[in-house]
């Protein structure tokens, strides 16, 4: 994993439809830091994550990733450093967790051990069962394993704790903790405490 020094956002403005979600948002997350992104429904948490991932183009402002000495401004290049855990779990109903993870490991050119990753999230017993038989919590665990094997220095997570049981929530916290320990950055939109030491950013209520 290449170490990323920091992720900086300067005077970022996001407009969706005709609505201004946030204006002149500035913050900085350093390597080893976890940011908990909070705020009411519709405050723009998901939009901010999609902006950072490069899916959305900001109406104004700048997002810069500093990796070593280089500053990455290009959205597509930035995307190559980002591990994504979105609302949807990308668990193909016809494929088994083993196949899903093997596919993403191949795609992301990761040499992580698939079986170990599945065991780490407690899915070893259902590793060869098609994902359509998995519960929502199990799919979220699979998404966590996928995030881990993606080997990316910046994690963007949208509601990582949703539908997880108490053990799953502990697991997610451990993953985030270990990621930060190795110098990674994580930004997680969440409605509940992440259960670890983190910075907080609260987005305002929609205007």
């Amino acid at each position: 994993m290449s170490t990323v020094a920091s992720l900086g956002v300067e005077r970022l403005t996001c407009i969706r439809g005709q609505r201004v979600l946030f204006r002149d948002l500035s913050f900085r997350v350093a390597g080893g830091q976890i940011l908990s992104l909070e705020g009411p429904n519709g405050a723009g948490k998901t939009s901010l994550l999609r902006l950072l991932a490069g899916f959305l183009v900001p109406a104004a402002g700048r997002i810069a990733l500093t990796a070593g000495a280089a500053t990455i401004d290009d959205a597509e290049e930035r995307g190559r450093l980002i591990g994504w855990l979105g609302h949807h779990d990308a668990a193909k109903p016809q494929l088994t967790p083993l196949e899903v993870l093997a596919f993403f490991a191949g795609l992301y050119r990761s040499d992580a051990k698939i079986a170990d990753a599945l065991a780490a999230v407690g899915l070893a017993a259902v590793a060869s069962l098609p994902c359509q038989y998995l519960s929502a919590g199990q799919k979220k665990r699979l998404a966590l394993a996928r995030l881990k094997i993606s080997n990316r220095p910046v994690w963007l997570l949208d509601e990582p704790l949703a539908s997880l049981d108490a053990g799953g929530k502990r697991l997610a916290a451990e993953f985030l903790d270990a990621h930060a320990l190795f110098g990674g950055i994580a930004i997680a939109a969440t409605h509940e405490p992440l259960g670890i030491a983190c910075e907080r950013l609260v987005l305002g209520a929609p205007a």
Binding site: F55, G79, A90, G106
Partner: protein
């Protein structure tokens, strides 16, 4: 690109994939036409190329709306977009996988159906060849339509309206090539079909990728 290509083939071949569906649709349409037209073998042989080409295009379109949609709906497309692959190569891999799981099986089935329509062996050979050469353009141009209608609710219904006009050259040259054999004419249609197919296949990934990019931002 290879992992994505292999995954799409695996998805198409599993239960809930649409490869077998396209094949069954093709066979069903080709079986219904003689029932409707009647058992006049000379008439059937004359319309065979047109009917089979149209049926093949419709069958391939049937499975195209899921090309990007399934990955869009379950969040896979976001992850694909963040992968080291460019969206262009993602589109190319998907087009290739779609052709291998629909275009190629349709081509392989076509001699049997040609026989059913009373086509002479030489015409059957050209029919198979024209489908082999022409079906990649169906997957490729279809992928543009699939990418454009990604965020449209029930986009699968608009997709054929967008794509069918683009595919008229393939149908004209493909059926024309078979007709030329029946009429004993020299055959340039296959070359035109090949040129059309190559151009469509080379350019489509760029158009499809641009449409996907637009829809991810929507």
């Amino acid at each position: 690109m290879i992992p994505l290509f292999l995954r799409d083939i695996r998805l198409a071949s599993r239960a809930g994939g649409s490869a077998a569906l396209a094949l069954a649709f093709f066979a069903a349409v080709a079986t219904l036409v003689p029932l409707g037209v009647g058992a006049d073998l000379r008439l059937l042989a004359r319309i065979a190329a047109g009917v089979l080409w149209v049926a093949a295009v419709l069958a391939a379109l049937l499975s195209l709306d899921r090309l990007f949609q399934a990955d869009f709906d379950d969040g896979s497309l976001d992850l694909l977009a963040l992968s080291p692959l460019s969206l262009e190569s993602i589109a190319a891999a998907k087009i290739a996988a779609h052709w291998l799981t629909t275009g190629l099986p349709l081509t392989l089935l076509s001699p049997l159906l040609g026989l059913m329509f009373g086509l002479p062996p030489r015409a059957i050979a050209v029919l198979g060849l024209s489908l082999l050469v022409g079906t990649p353009s169906v997957s490729a141009l279809g992928a543009i339509g699939a990418a454009l209608t990604l965020a449209v609710r029930r986009g699968g219904l608009i997709l054929p309206l967008l794509v069918l006009p683009l595919l008229s050259p393939a149908v004209i040259f493909g059926a024309g090539a078979v007709q030329a054999v029946l009429d004993g004419l020299s055959n340039g249609a296959l070359l035109f079909l090949a040129a059309f197919s190559v151009a469509a296949t080379l350019l489509s990934p760029f158009a499809a990728a641009a449409a996907v990019r637009l829809n991810l931002a929507g």
